[in-house]
């Protein structure tokens, strides 16, 4: 048992940035920025050759109704973008009881679990669920600094009350990502900082404009912290017609500006591989070994598989995960299958079934989701969906969810 945890312990020791600071306290953002700035200054001479290359007049970025968003270029090499989402939740029992907050199931739901889903509400609620700012700076072709700050649920109607919505819906400003990329070659890149945990497809593509549903699957957020602070080696190896992408990462804890909704890593080491077998079919494999700060007695082993098949607008995706604790007390497992079918105009239908067994639940949580999505050519996305979970799991959304997202 000791031997299996040795690499993790070593990685944690090597990567711990502030060893004297209590792990549960968020890092000072100013200190983080200063540290990254120092890295940038140290790295600058290594890339002076490419930075000194003569710059020709660049062609124009493509702007049009169906083009990808381009952000705003606010200085040479510095681009600012992001997205905002307004979310409407009409929970089933709130609809049935016309605003009776003490509706069915309240006693079971408790409302104090830190893992309660932030999208869950016992009453009708309209929120500015995300207001995200993403900035990236490329001072040289081989260096990129990227930061994302996400204001979550900062505006709510009616205003926030813990008793009604649970701690998961408290307004918060989260540092989603802050990292520096060094491009040694296309096969080998180094990322240092805070990044989205490379487990499964959904977590790294979880931003509202990229997903087909307002509700995240449990599998993408329950079993592991959604972000990690540490080091990552990644790249694309020239294997097969589309290449093999890999992400090898390690975290020593010390999560930067940890969100109160997340139980961050104490230490972690993991690998993700993704490959396209054809233009239509992609597979991914994720493996990780980690300890979380609020569950420091448990060391978890996680294995995940994911696939997506997309052809002529139809997309079928699936993810499955198994997280095992050493004493089997906090084992979680589950998966989902999701389909998206294009309808007329820019409308799509989406359906998802998920089965997931959380450690704290008595039985497996199962849910079905049916929804409609409208994707405008001008970077806004409207979604409306009905979520129907079984009663085995608590603190989860049920009823009608809708959202409107704008990318900028």
């Amino acid at each position: 048992m000791k031997n299996r945890s040795a690499p993790l312990t070593l990685a944690a020791a090597v990567l711990r940035i502030t060893p004297t600071k209590p792990a549960t306290q968020p890092q000072d953002p100013g200190r983080v920025l200063a540290w990254l700035g120092l890295c940038l200054l140290l790295a600058w001479p290594l890339h002076s050759r490419s930075a000194d290359a003569p710059l020709a007049d660049q062609p124009l970025p493509e702007r049009g109704a169906d083009g990808a968003p381009m952000g705003v270029r606010i200085a040479p090499g510095l681009t600012l973008g992001g997205y905002g989402t307004v979310q409407l939740a009409l929970p089933r029992h709130a609809l049935a009881s016309s605003g009776d907050h003490a509706g069915e199931g309240d006693g079971d739901h408790g409302g104090s679990s830190p893992r309660e889903d932030p999208q869950y509400a016992r009453r009708n609620r309209l929120t500015l669920s995300h207001l995200s700012a993403i900035a990236w700076w490329e001072p040289a072709p081989a260096i990129k600094l990227l930061a994302e700050l996400d204001s979550q649920d900062v505006l709510q109607l009616p205003t926030h009350h813990d008793n009604d919505d649970g701690v998961g819906s408290a307004p918060t400003v989260a540092l989603e990502r802050l990292y520096l990329d060094f491009l040694a070659s296309d096969e080998l890149k180094l990322r240092i900082g805070k990044f989205l945990t490379p487990i499964g497809r959904w977590n790294q593509e979880h931003s509202d404009p990229l997903t087909w549903t307002t509700l995240r699957p449990l599998i993408s957020q329950s079993a592991f912290p959604t972000s990690a602070t540490g080091l990552m080696l990644f790249g694309s190896l020239p294997l097969g017609p589309q290449g093999l992408d890999y992400q090898l990462y390690a975290s020593g804890g010390s999560d930067w500006h940890a969100s109160p909704r997340v139980d961050p890593f104490s230490s972690a080491i993991g690998l993700r591989l993704a490959a396209a077998l054809s233009a239509d079919l992609q597979f991914g494999l994720s493996a990780a070994q980690y300890v979380q700060q609020h569950q420091d007695r448990d060391r978890f082993d996680l294995l995940g598989l994911d696939a997506v098949w997309a052809v002529q607008g139809t997309e079928i995706s699936a993810e499955a995960i198994v997280r095992r604790s050493r004493d089997d007390r906090a084992t979680e497992r589950g998966g989902f299958v999701q389909g998206r079918w294009p309808l007329a105009m820019r409308w799509s239908a989406v359906a998802r079934v998920e089965a997931y067994k959380r450690a704290e639940d008595t039985g497996s949580h199962r849910s079905a989701l049916l929804g409609l999505v409208y994707r405008s050519g001008h970077h806004w996305v409207g979604k409306v969906e009905w979520v129907e979970p079984n009663r085995a799991a608590s603190g989860l959304p049920q009823g009608l969810l809708a959202s409107l997202t704008l990318m900028y």
Partner: protein, 170 residues
């Protein structure tokens, strides 16, 4: 039990006979299609003569370059791909022949990349503009009709449609 099995066999045979009766006239009328004449000339992926050492480029490399997953040439010069506008016929064919996807189908990919700070290749409005840009910019790569290539640039790869490529008029 035997009776049920017999019933199932009879039903299967009846359905098989009916399907054959429906399909047979179609088979008799089916005429193998004539070999389609290619209607589009090949697309030439072009680079500056200074990149001769990197040639030729295979399909995986081209996909990586125009998806911006490959960012450096072997000598560490940054790769600078350029596109034609999405409405241009050449762009549509390039996208279909290389990625097996229309430019619209790739929008989801570029939306995803946007959140990682990666933007799609910028665009130039004409083939002449692409040739001039590629010839004068270190690390640049673009594409034009194979009939438009001249000595200012090198052909790194040729893409043809499923029916082959039509000859140039001149």
């Amino acid at each position: 039990m035997h009776g049920l099995r017999q019933l199932a066999c009879d039903a299967t045979r009846r359905i098989g006979r009916r399907m054959l009766a429906m399909v047979a006239p179609g088979l008799l009328l089916w005429v193998p299609p004539l070999v389609a004449e290619p209607s589009e000339p090949a697309i030439a992926v072009i680079v500056a003569p200074s990149l001769v050492a990197a040639l030729p480029l295979n399909q995986a490399m081209l996909i990586g370059v125009f998806r911006r997953k490959r960012q450096l040439w072997d000598d560490r010069t940054p790769i600078a791909p350029v596109n034609m506008p999405a409405s241009h016929a050449l762009r549509r064919n390039f996208s279909l022949w290389l990625f097996k996807r229309s430019p619209e189908d790739l929008q989801a990919y570029w939306n995803d990349q946007y959140f990682h700070g990666v933007l799609p290749p910028p665009v130039l409005a004409s083939e002449e503009a692409v040739i001039r840009f590629v010839a004068s910019t270190p690390g640049a790569i673009g594409y034009v009709s194979a009939c438009s290539v001249d000595k200012r640039v090198l052909v790194a790869a040729l893409l043809k449609g499923p029916d082959g490529a039509a000859p140039c008029a001149h």
